[in-house]
């Protein structure tokens, strides 16, 4: 399944807000056709990493490539699902309208979305099981529904590489399954999906690759190889420990204990 082309290649990436470095010398090589989680504590720079790759925050040093070329020329190939809280959900617009925004780039300047865009948007809404809400004003959605609308907006773009910032934030178990199934379908279609994820327990179950990040890149690779207790401790500062350590399968069944387990 893995080909030799790298979908995402980040070298020596450093990002700072004012004089405070948030990402330090990060390297990343992500093969095409995988599902990858980015994990790390709050403020680790996960959102910043995605935004830096997408050119949304200025880069202090380093470079990022999508399929071997700078993002600026590969923009069409890249879909983005921002953190849900990043927009005003009281904006006067409908669900279908928001999803159609995923086609704006392909439409280009001035041309208005028409029949085709409508149909595509509706299809994308069907994929996330939100088609019954197409005409709903967006303020009348629950958190999980908002999340799915954002997913549909990214899907409608038909990209090759997807960056998703905490798509599982505040969704119930059913919605989580819907989204996971969707991510797996994307992977089967040869797409590369990078997801910021907070639930360490489900990492081995949902993802093939994982990047552990805390300002520096602690580790990045196949879950079975790099998702170890040692790396987690390096990432979360020794406060997190997996009980039935080292093997991915045991992590699945064992609960995760935080903070007090490792004292002394």
């Amino acid at each position: 399944m893995h080909t030799n082309t790298l979908a995402i290649e980040v070298t020596d990436l450093t990002v700072a807000y004012r004089d405070n470095p948030v990402l330090w010398d990060v390297d990343l090589a992500v093969p095409a056709g995988i599902l990858m989680a980015i994990v790390g504590p709050n403020g680790a720079g996960k959102t910043t990493l995605i935004k830096a790759i997408l050119g949304l925050v200025p880069i202090a040093a380093g470079q990022t490539l999508i399929y071997g070329k700078p993002y600026a020329v590969q923009r069409r190939l890249v879909g983005y699902v921002p953190q849900r809280g990043s927009v005003d959900w009281d904006f006067p617009t409908s669900v279908l309208d928001v999803v159609m925004m995923g086609r704006y780039g392909a439409l280009g300047w001035i041309r208005r979305p028409g029949r085709r865009e409508r149909d595509l948007a509706y299809e994308a809404l069907e994929k996330v099981k939100m088609h019954n809400f197409a005409d709903r004003q967006i303020s009348q959605l629950s958190g999980g529904q908002q999340q799915r609308v954002f997913l549909a907006r990214a899907l409608v773009q038909d990209a090759q590489v997807y960056f998703m910032d905490e798509p599982f934030q505040g969704v119930d178990a059913t919605t989580e399954r819907t989204i996971v199934t969707l991510l797996q379908e994307l992977r089967s279609a040869g797409k590369t999906v990078v997801v910021v994820h907070h639930d360490l327990q489900t990492v081995p179950q949902y993802f093939d690759w994982v990047t552990l990040l805390n300002v520096r890149r602690i580790a990045s690779g196949m879950v079975s190889e790099v998702f170890t207790e040692e790396n987690l401790r390096l990432t979360y500062g020794g406060r997190v420990t997996l009980i039935g350590h080292n093997s991915a399968s045991s992590m699945l069944s064992e609960p995760l204990s935080a903070a007090d387990h490792n004292k002394g």
Partner: protein, 311 residues
């Protein structure tokens, strides 16, 4: 003056017709573009830019010696623009937050404008006489030449807004996503802000720098109560703006010595208050009725289920 004779005056009195046309134009333009200021939470920016226009207007007059509407409006635009640049500069290079920076800029520019105005009024030149109308607005002073300029500028601004409808919507809802869609969001931001400056400038002579921002914010706020769609909101805000503009201008033009700004703002405030209370779905009255109905419905259900339950 009752409504009928007012209507007659507007239709058949040349001066009043001019004034009404000017007021309608200003209401439409500021109402429509004000929606973006409100949706992007830039109401305060609008206020700062309109206050900042004063020194621009007076300086333009002092430098050129004419009161050509286009010259004064250009002065206002340049000043508004400088204020925006200063704002960006302050926020980027210091730790002062945007709202404080806006407060500072508003007072500094407006204070400077007042000083310049005092200077201009010392001039023997009779032409300066009309400058102070820019403080609180004087619709009665509108002449055909002014209205032609207002309509021209307003039409261009509205056409650009319609042309870049999709882009401005994206900018207002989710600028980061807009960037990933390949649009130069910074440039669009500058463009939309420039259109809002035009909207302000169009209304300055009629409403005045002090109250102009109300004509950006209030029609949009009222329109938002009635609809959940951007297109309808913009159209409604334009209508409310025009209504308040025309009625306010008529009242002030027919009552001696009354500034137009305050009367227009009173009219639009009435529309806002009415909308807050009576608009369907979002209106307070509607909400109260709905809550009451829901409560009774629930109580009845609870009663029924209690009856069914065995003791």
């Amino acid at each position: 003056m009752d409504l009928m004779s007012m209507l007659q005056a507007v239709l058949f009195n040349y001066t009043l017709r001019t004034v009404a046309l000017g007021a309608a134009t200003l209401g439409i333009v500021s109402g429509a573009l004000g929606c973006y200021a409100v949706l992007r939470r830039q109401a305060l920016l609008g206020d700062a830019m309109s206050h900042a226009a004063l020194p621009g207007i007076v300086l333009a007059f002092l430098l050129t010696g004419t009161r050509q509407p286009l010259v004064l409006m250009l002065g206002a635009m340049v000043a508004g623009w400088l204020a925006t640049l200063a704002l960006i500069g302050i926020v980027r290079t210091t730790r002062i937050k945007e709202d404080s920076a806006l407060g500072i800029l508003l007072s500094v520019f407006f204070g400077f404008g007042m000083v310049l105005l005092a200077l201009a009024q010392k001039q023997p030149n009779a032409a300066q006489a009309g400058l102070s109308k820019f403080l609180f607005g004087q619709a009665a002073s509108l002449v055909v030449r002014d209205v032609v300029t207002m309509v021209g500028l307003g039409t261009v601004a509205l056409l650009l807004m319609l042309l870049f409808w999709k882009e401005f919507k994206l900018l207002s809802f989710d600028p980061d996503f807009g960037t990933t869609q390949g649009f130069p969001i910074r440039l669009l931001d500058i463009g939309l802000t420039a259109l809002i400056v035009v909207a302000i400038v169009v209304g300055l002579q009629t409403v005045g720098v002090v109250l102009m921002s109300a004509m950006l914010v209030a029609p949009a706020a009222a329109a938002r109560q009635w609809t959940d769609r951007l297109g309808v909101m913009v159209a409604l805000a334009a209508f409310f703006g025009a209504l308040a503009g025309v009625v306010g201008a008529m009242i002030s033009a027919t009552a001696r010595g009354m500034s137009t700004g305050p009367t227009v703002v009173l009219c639009i405030s009435a529309i806002v208050v009415f909308s807050i209370f009576f608009a369907p779905n979002r209106g307070l009255v509607w909400n109260m009725v709905r809550q009451q109905r829901n409560r009774q419905h629930l109580l009845r259900r609870v009663d029924r289920e209690l009856v069914l339950e065995p003791e």
